[in-house]
């Protein structure tokens, strides 16, 4: 009985020490989710891929933005492919759904506007929300300026997107006026 009483404080101490050590080790392995430090896009993508698979999935949008900023520092047409491959990888890894990957790619690197996605007819769906649709398109055009012009040097693509925006604005104005007149 006496021996048991003597061991008890030691066991308590050992237990506490073990818990502190476990906590300390946990703290050291927690991902920091830092932004990539390199200015090279290839290396930055590799670093981001490693970080994303290491518990930083929640920071995907920030990393995508970081990569775009890095690519802006070295703009070239091949960057389109780099981003496409990165997004396909993210989709394959289950970090993004296929639809999200498409949304991320097309919003920045395609002439077409993702803001115009919709399955209902223009009279019933687009016209009542015309101002919002045009506002969303305008914001998307800013992203296209970044992706097409500043990252990929695709001047023609960006000018076509800009032209498409104005054409949609004109055609929607006419179509919605015609729809309203038919009510």
């Amino acid at each position: 009985m006496t021996t048991q009483k003597r061991i008890h404080p030691l066991a308590t101490f050992a237990g506490l020490a073990a818990i502190s050590l476990t906590l300390a080790s946990c703290a050291s392995t927690k991902p920091t989710c830092d932004s990539p430090q390199t200015r090279n896009l290839d290396r930055a993508i590799s670093a981001v891929q490693a970080t994303l698979t290491n518990g930083c999935q929640a920071h995907f949008d920030r990393y995508y933005d970081d990569l775009l900023t890095i690519a802006e520092g070295d703009p070239k047409p091949e960057n389109k492919r780099e981003f496409s491959e990165f997004l396909v990888w993210a989709s394959d890894e289950g970090l993004l759904s296929k639809r999200q990957a498409q949304e991320n790619y097309n919003r920045y690197f395609n002439v077409k506007f993702m803001s115009l996605r919709g399955d209902y007819n223009n009279c019933s769906h687009t016209c009542p929300n015309k101002q919002k649709v045009l506002f969303d398109m305008e914001r998307e055009l800013t992203d296209k300026e970044r992706g097409l012009l500043k990252v990929s040097l695709d001047n023609q693509g960006y000018y076509r997107a800009d032209e498409l925006f104005h054409e949609v604005e004109l055609v929607l104005e006419a179509t919605c006026t015609a729809c309203a007149a038919g009510r």
Binding site: P77, E78, K80, R81, S84, L87, V88, A101, Q102, Y105, N106, F109, N110, V111, K112, F113, L116, R117, G118, D119, Y120, N121, N122, C123, H125, T126, C127, V133, S152, L153, D154, N155, Q156, G157, Y158, Y159, R160, E163, L164, E167, V168, L170, V171, L172, E173, A174, T175, C176, T177, A178, C179, A181, G182
Partner: protein, 288 residues
Amino acid sequence: MRQNDTKPRTAARHFPLLDTAVYWLLVVTVVATAFLVGRVALANTPTIRLFPTTVVEDLRHTGEVARDMETGLQEVIGRLDQQQQLYQESKCDGAENDSGCQRLARQIGATYLDMLTIMDERLPDMEHTVNNTRISLEKNLRSELGRKMSPWTLQETLVGKAKTTTSSKSSPTLRGRSGMRLSERFKQYHQLVATSGSQSDQSLAVLASDIYLDMHETSVLIERTRQEIARATLMEQLNQSFGIITPEMMEVVGGVKSILFGDEEARALVAGPPPGTIEQAYRSPLEQ
């Protein structure tokens, strides 16, 4: 007769196989040609129907009515310009009580009334044809682009199925053409629409929208102008008794001139951005 009949029969008896071969060759050629022509025609035919023949005809008629109005007004406006010049050269500004100046002012007022009368006579016809075109286009736009298309399909129509990026040539940019004669504007519209068979769907959608919005504005303006003419005529009839030239009168004449005969100052063209130089061969599997 008998001799004539025997010749072909003899030939047929001698070369029956050749005849059959030629016959089938002809049939195959005709069918193949018809098929090819059909394919080509199908490829060139726009799939959206925005410009039926009635619209083309309405546009042509509107152009003619506008030309008639211009011709009628040209002479009166020329006369007004001369009278105004004479008024200024006679130093009538500030000498309104002078009897000679009063007579000149009355003459100017009478010519101004002539102008208003011509406009009043021609505008109903103009209004009628503009409204016809507007209503036809309105119906087609509502049906083809409004009800049959979603925003995505509309975008795909505008981008074009071939995904060509050289659309600067094919897509007309027509809005804000105030520096052009009214009849010339309708003539251009008519030409564009009459040759629309060779244009792609994306150009047609933009063209139809552009013409429709223009007609819409023109329609509203004609209606307002007709109301204003009645008021201005009454005012001028009153002014005639005093021989006064009002600033409003000169303003109206200037406005009519710029609408009908074009406004040089409004033709400021802004250069477009330089075309891109880089070939874009890469297409992502994510692209839609």
